[in-house]
Amino acid sequence: MERVMKKTYKRLKGSKYLRQRLLLSTLSTTPIIISDIRPDDMPPGLRYYEVELLKLFELISDGCVIELHDTATKFKYIPGVLMGGRNLVHDCGKYRSLGYFLEPLIVLGLFGKKPLSIKLLGITNDSKDPSVDTFRSTTLPMLKRFGIPSEGLELKIECRGSPPNGGGEVVLKVPVVQSSLSAVTWTDEGMVKRIRGTTFSTRVSSQFENTMIHAARGIFNRLLPDVHIFTDHKAGVQAGKSPGYGISLVAETTTGCFISTDTAVFQAKWKDEDEYEDDEKKELTPPEDLGEQAASVLLGEVEQGGVVDSTHQFVFVLYGMVLLDNYFIK
């Protein structure tokens, strides 16, 4: 007597919001078919990093099915059961930095069956995605607002890797959230009470970092005395495979909000990706300019106000969706 429903797919088009689509599809266990992915581009279809993302989703879930069309302009995704698990390793490739992969992971990890502990290999810092430093200093503390247990939530940077060759290595640990996330009411941004930051340099002189710090402090000093920027110079294996340097800054407010920015400079060697060539190849930003630039952006974010900076709105939006209650974030 029992009758089976045919599996219904949600059909989506275009390459936009791939991460969000996959994430929401997984959380709501809705099978999706995405078609018309960059049909006119050369080469068409999914990019390498997007395929890596799909593989990552497959890695942490059980029984998920991904069927990629030959031209990669279309694929089918049937989400499985989120498993989590320990000692997973995923190579995220050299096309996108780890920030791109970490963002969906911190959401998915919470709803797995077992706590997630995964080692991601690839690029740790670039100028496009939020850096791992920002993740550690800003994103993870923010998550505690949603009632996520702080023990077990951890991001460890083992090696750094700059584009184009990467070689970075981070370990992300996400606990399982027991019942459900708690709703937040978070509308008071408070006042900035301290500024912290980290600089990093891989395969370049550690003097670069000091220069960056000096430049950034030059701007902050007129506003706030409590500025500490740490250096993180990596050498040898830990420095990855390419030279680069960068800075990540966090402003902490009296009400516990974190507002962050980060930038990085690296050598672009890709011939096939024009954007990189246009933007970066011409000349690399010198460290003092980079420091100033980062500081300015941070002040810009502070000026705009709000309890979250622009980078993290994404995460909060997602958490908001998962919640049952209304939430109030400014």
Binding site: M1, E2, R3, V4, M5, K10, K13, S15, K16, Y17, R19, Q20, L27, S28, T30, R38, D41, R47, D62, G63, C64, G80, G99, Y100, E103, K113, D129, P130, D188, M191, V192, K193, I219, L223, L224, T254, Q293, A295, S296, L299, G300, V302, E303, Q304, G305, G306, S310, T311, Q313, F314, V315, V317, G320, M321, L324, D325, N326, Y327, F328, K330
Partner: protein, 1069 residues
């Protein structure tokens, strides 16, 4: 004699020693020492401590983690399932209770009966059928189970079976009712009561309520006892049950087959379309929800509408008790409740024996002679009776009457349910074709009228009711102008349906609605919930009507337009146009438009969602391609070195002016609507992503919020204040018991109970905030967001159900429709059991397996003669076949649901692996073949052929996934001829995986043909190379105790010309 009398009796000699002496001394001692025993409860500190800790424990045991109650508004009627063995008096009890509540006697109990039992409370009585399927379903929706027990006989298995099912599916409230206790011997009765009570207690808990109904009086239970029982029911409190609180469900109290008749005429066994009606319970239900009809299967909802509550809770006017008028009851399956509303029609049911046609001419005269004035209702009925022409004939003859004159206002005084207002009564055939052809003209008429009516809004139209039975419609006389008009467009068709005469009263949807609204005002019954329902309905209509476009003819289009125009205008729609149902495109559109809107405030862009827009199209694509959550700085860099710029943000830092900062916070609260707009937008995103329909609609409130933001903030504050004061003054109602009893512990246990209070408070506050937030949305948006609220009366339309459902529909057997949670419909489990062809797909864990590469290599390494290309193709083909075979072997146990199962100790036999059982999990019940296993000490799951005698074991079977910890009950068969105890096993779901590994112990016989020091070659153990390779690495053990491992296929030293002889290699360690 005298002597004898004088002789003194020997006085009683009290015992000086021994137990009796001690016994007597004690009380006197106590009385001497402690003058007032109440004042000094204890003397020893140790005892005091013990007492205290005991009572604290009791106190703590009562505490539960408070859960947020997300239901808003009137709760749905509580379901009272009356269960018991046959002939124990179930129906009689329901009849008596209904009689007690409504003062009406019920001839027969068929299907659920809804009654209004108090000012706040409605009840729904269901009689539980005695077949196991019915019992399982009833256990899933019962809020209270009344277990009827035959006192003259004692407990019967049905009771225990039902209790077992109840326990597995979340234990609702249970009350025992002992019937048939009569007889001359009072002492014997008392003994029986005592005995049964204690047996009952062992099954539930000590002190469980067992009610006694002594014998009958005039074929009914004693009214006093029924009254007491009703009292008990009315004060009952209900705990939320976790499964039900998270799943919407509908207990169907009305069922209609709406298949187009031509279809069912041509093919009796065609799939049917049905509509199911019932109150929504559990949690809110959205339109996209998939449902499971117990015993039928999973379905998508073809239509979901809310209807007017057939049995509304009386208004909250300050008065004691219920008026007689408000004592409503609704039992469509029992043939009661003569007037039934549907989405687009009103049905009037008349019992066969009550239909009496009067001779029109004669009696009209008589009546008018008697009463002086001709009653309007009577006249109408008369007019309805004289049908001379068929509808088609009439249609040809009739002319369209566009503007009818407005009849004078009349008021209807009968307030019962049946008197809900119907404005224009048209009786027509149920037949769709007729309806369509007819409505073409008549609806225009109605439409015109409706317009007219809406213009002169304060004029209420005459409400006419055709009452079938005794009450008679007391509508005031109407001017004759109206009558012919009525007659012209009202038709009557009598149809025999289920032994009842059924006539359909047809009228347009919009009229229904407008009428309901006006009636709401009219009667001053301003139930807020009811009226809001109507307006909701108003807005839903267009959508639903879009759904069923197939049978909508032209006239309906104009209707849609009209309803749309009547709808409160949605700003979103004004700005962005009509909603587009195509999900993706609308999503993207929404994003784009959102983009433009937020142009002004660049910083409120959700970067992850909406990438930085740039005006050129080509560039846009690129930006979208490079999806990232980081803001690419488009704003030109400010020079933060300049002094005035620094000054401008100084107040954002602690070194700045704090007071100004505080001010900033406030002003930004007022000016920062955009922020909350942003927040709102996110909420909508949720809806957008999860459900595909009409997103533009949902986006509306962004603008609306702008207006209402300030007001909302104030309201919220007020609410909070109100709540705070409430909490200080008196405890929240739920808490009463806890606190009043716990006052003395508050002193010592301040921390714990304080914490508990705080939790509760937070939850309450959260709830208030949610409500406040939702209240600010307009109805349409709100509906989009939260779906239908619990407690609304719903009409679910479901297409393509098997005809058996209609054919064998039995009102005594309640129908349960349960909404499925996320992912619960997810398994194509039946595909496997039905043996559909499965696409060849290799699963991840197969490829990731340790020996996959070697295997493939092995399979590839063989020689094929031929041309190069041919060889390659051939090899590929062979590889594919081998892969498929192996894949099947490996993934055979995929998608199985491991549960921890225990055979019920009353079930006579042990269970055997792969013997089919019927399990009930969640809403579903289905037959499946479990594989039993037990976990060995080393964590391996070893297959068991039979379940162990008294232990739990694991069972694994195919099935749709359910969350862990869901209860499972298994029965062996559902046929009527009963086993001694039908429940076979109870279980709980452990986890759901797509793969479960169960090891089976197999015995092989082989012959050692060559023995080395640590290795032996075994012959004839396996029959093929493939088999050996499958068992490579498997641990083996001989009977004599030599342990080893299967290593690989060996061709060494075979010397055997026969190819079939295979060797395994064993290495003892």
């Amino acid at each position: 004699m005298v002597e004898i009398s004088e002789q003194p009796h020997k006085s009683h000699r009290t015992r000086q020693a021994g137990p009796s002496a001690r016994k007597k001394k004690k009380p006197s001692d106590g009385a001497k020492n402690n003058k007032n025993p109440k004042a000094f409860a204890f003397n020893s500190t140790r005892k005091a401590k013990r007492l205290q800790s005991r009572s604290t424990e009791i106190e703590q045991r009562k505490l539960h983690i408070p859960t947020i109650d997300r239901s808003i508004g009137e709760p749905a009627p509580y379901v009272i399932v009356v269960q018991g063995p046959p002939k124990v008096g179930k129906s009689l009890l329901i009849k008596c209770l209904v009689k007690h509540y409504t003062k009406q006697s019920l001839p027969e109990v068929r299907g659920p009966i809804t009654i209004v039992s108090g000012k706040q409370r409605r009840l729904q009585f269901v009689e539980c059928p005695n077949d196991i399927n019915g019992m399982i379903d009833a256990a899933k929706f019962a809020d209270v189970a009344l277990l009827l027990i035959d006192g003259s006989f004692g407990f019967e298995m049905e009771t225990f079976e039902f209790l077992n099912i109840l326990q597995v599916h979340g234990f609702p409230k249970v009350m025992g009712v002992l019937t048939h206790i009569e007889g001359p011997d009072a002492k014997k009765i008392r003994k029986t009561k005592q005995r049964l009570k204690h047996r009952f207690w062992t099954e539930i808990y000590d002190g469980a309520k067992l009610f006694y109904l002594s014998g009958l009086e005039n074929g009914k239970y004693h009214p006093r006892e029924v009254h007491n029982l009703a009292r008990f029911i009315s004060v009952m409190k209900f705990h939320p049950l976790s499964w039900r609180a998270s799943h919407p469900y509908v207990m169907v109290d009305r069922f209609e087959d709406v298949t187009p008749p031509e279809r069912s005429h041509t093919n009796k066994k065609c799939d049917r379309n049905v509509t199911l009606y019932g109150y929504l319970r559990g949690c809110n239900m959205k339109k996209s929800t998939k449902v499971h009809i117990a015993g039928i299967g999973d379905y998508n909802l073809a239509g979901l509408t809310n209807l007017a509550d057939p049995c509304p809770v009386p208004s909250a006017a300050k008065k004691k008790g219920l008026r007689d008028k408000e004592k409503l009851f609704y039992a469509p399956m029992s043939g009661l409740g003569d007037l039934i509303y549907d989405k687009d029609a009103v049905y009037i049911n008349i019992n066969d024996n009550l239909v009496q046609y009067s001779k029109v001419d004669n009696e009209n005269g008589e009546i008018s002679g008697k009463g002086g004035i001709v009653d309007k209702g009577e006249k109408m009925v008369k007019s309805l009776q004289e049908v001379k022409y068929s509808i088609n004939e009439k249609l040809e003859q009739s002319s369209i009457n566009l503007f009818s004159r407005k009849p004078p206002r009349s008021h209807n005084t009968n307030g019962a349910l049946l008197e809900s207002e119907i404005e224009d009564l048209k009786l027509s055939d149920q037949d769709n074709s007729v309806e369509e052809s007819e409505t073409d003209e008549s609806d225009k008429e109605i439409g015109e009228e409706d317009l007219e009516e809406s213009e002169s809004s304060d004029q209420e139209k005459a409400n006419e009711i055709v009452r079938s039975t005794g009450d008679g419609s007391d509508g005031e006389s109407e001017d004759d102008e109206h009558l012919p008009h009525l007659r012209s467009d009202s038709k009557e068709q009598v149809e025999f349906h289920n032994g009842r005469v059924r006539r359909r009263a047809m009228c347009g949807t919009d009229i229904d609605n407008s009428d309901f609204k006006s009636s709401g005002k009219d009667d001053e019954d301003s139930h807020s919930s009811a009226s809001s329902n109507f307006s909701e309905e108003d807005e839903d209509d267009p959508k639903i009507e879009e759904d069923e476009i197939e049978n909508v003819s032209k006239w309906k289009e104009s209707l849609v337009e009209r309803t749309l125009s009547g709808q409160n205008t949605n700003l979103m729609q004004l700005v962005y146009g009509k909603s587009v149902s195509n999900s993706t495109s609308s999503t993207d559109e929404a994003h784009c438009s959102e983009d433009e809107e937020s142009d002004g405030e660049k910083f409120f862009q959700p970067k992850g969602e909406i990438n930085k827009k740039s005006s050129d199209g080509a560039d846009d694509i690129n930006v979208n391609d490079e999806e990232c959550s980081k803001l690419t700085i488009s704003v030109k860099q400010k020079n933060w070195k300049s002094e005035d710029l620094v000054e401008s943000i100084r107040d954002h830092f602690v070194t700045g002016d704090w007071s100004k900062a505080a001010l900033r916070g406030q002003t930004s609260d007022v000016t920062g609507e955009d922020d909350s707009v942003y927040g709102e937008f996110e909420d909508l995103e949720t809806g957008e992503k999860y459900e595909s329909h009409q997103m533009d609609d949902a986006g509306t409130d962004t603008d609306i919020n702008r207006k209402g933001d300030e007001a909302r903030r104030l309201k919220k504050l007020a609410l909070r204040a109100k709540f705070d004061t409430q909490h200080e003054e008196s405890d929240s109602p739920d808490e009463e018991t806890g606190k009043s009893k716990g006052t003395k512990f508050h002193r010592d246990q301040a921390n714990e109970s304080g914490y508990f209070d705080k939790l509760k408070e937070e939850i309450e506050l959260r709830k208030q905030m949610n409500i406040a937030e939702l209240n600010d949305l307009d109805e349409a948006t709100r509906f989009e967001l939260e779906g239908f609220r619990t407690g609304t009366y719903l009409r679910l339309e479901i297409h393509d159900v098997p005809f058996e459902m209609v054919e064998y529909f039995d009102p005594h057997h309640p129908v349960l429709v349960g909404g499925l949670g996320l992912g619960e419909e997810n398994e194509g489990y039946m595909q496997l059991s039905k043996g559909f062809a499965q696409a060849f797909q290799i699963r991840k864990h197969v490829i990731r397996g340790p020996d996959f590469k070697e295997k493939v290599k092995d399979w590839w390494d063989f020689v094929v003669e031929g041309r190069r290309g041919k060889v390659f193709r051939l090899k590929l083909k062979i590889l594919k076949i081998k892969l498929m075979k192996w894949n099947k072997e490996v993934t055979d146990n995929i998608k199985r649901l491991p549960v921890r199962i225990k055979r019920h100790r009353w079930h006579r036999k042990v269970l055997k692996t792969r013997d089919p059982i019927i399990v009930s999990i969640g809403w579903r019940r289905y037959q499946t073949t479990p594989i039993y296993a037990i976990e060995d000490l080393n964590g391996r799951h070893r297959m068991l052929k039979y379940t162990p005698e008294h232990m739990h074991c694991l069972a694994t079977f195919y099935g749709p996934l359910v969350p862990p910890n869901t209860g499972v009950v298994a029965v062996q068969n559902v046929s009527k001829n009963q086993a001694a105890f039908r429940i076979t096993a109870t279980a709980v779901v452990q986890e759901f995986n797509h793969a479960a590994r169960i090891m089976k112990k197999i015995k092989f016989v082989g012959y050692p043909c060559k023995i080395f020091r640590k290795t032996a070659l075994i012959k004839d153990m396996f029959t093929s190379d493939l088999e050996i390779s499958r068992f490579e690495g498997a641990e083996i053990r001989t009977v004599s105790g030599i342990r080893g491992q299967v290593k690989k296929v060996s061709l060494l030293g075979t010397g055997n010309p026969i190819k079939g002889a295979r060797l395994g290699k064993i290495r003892s360690c």
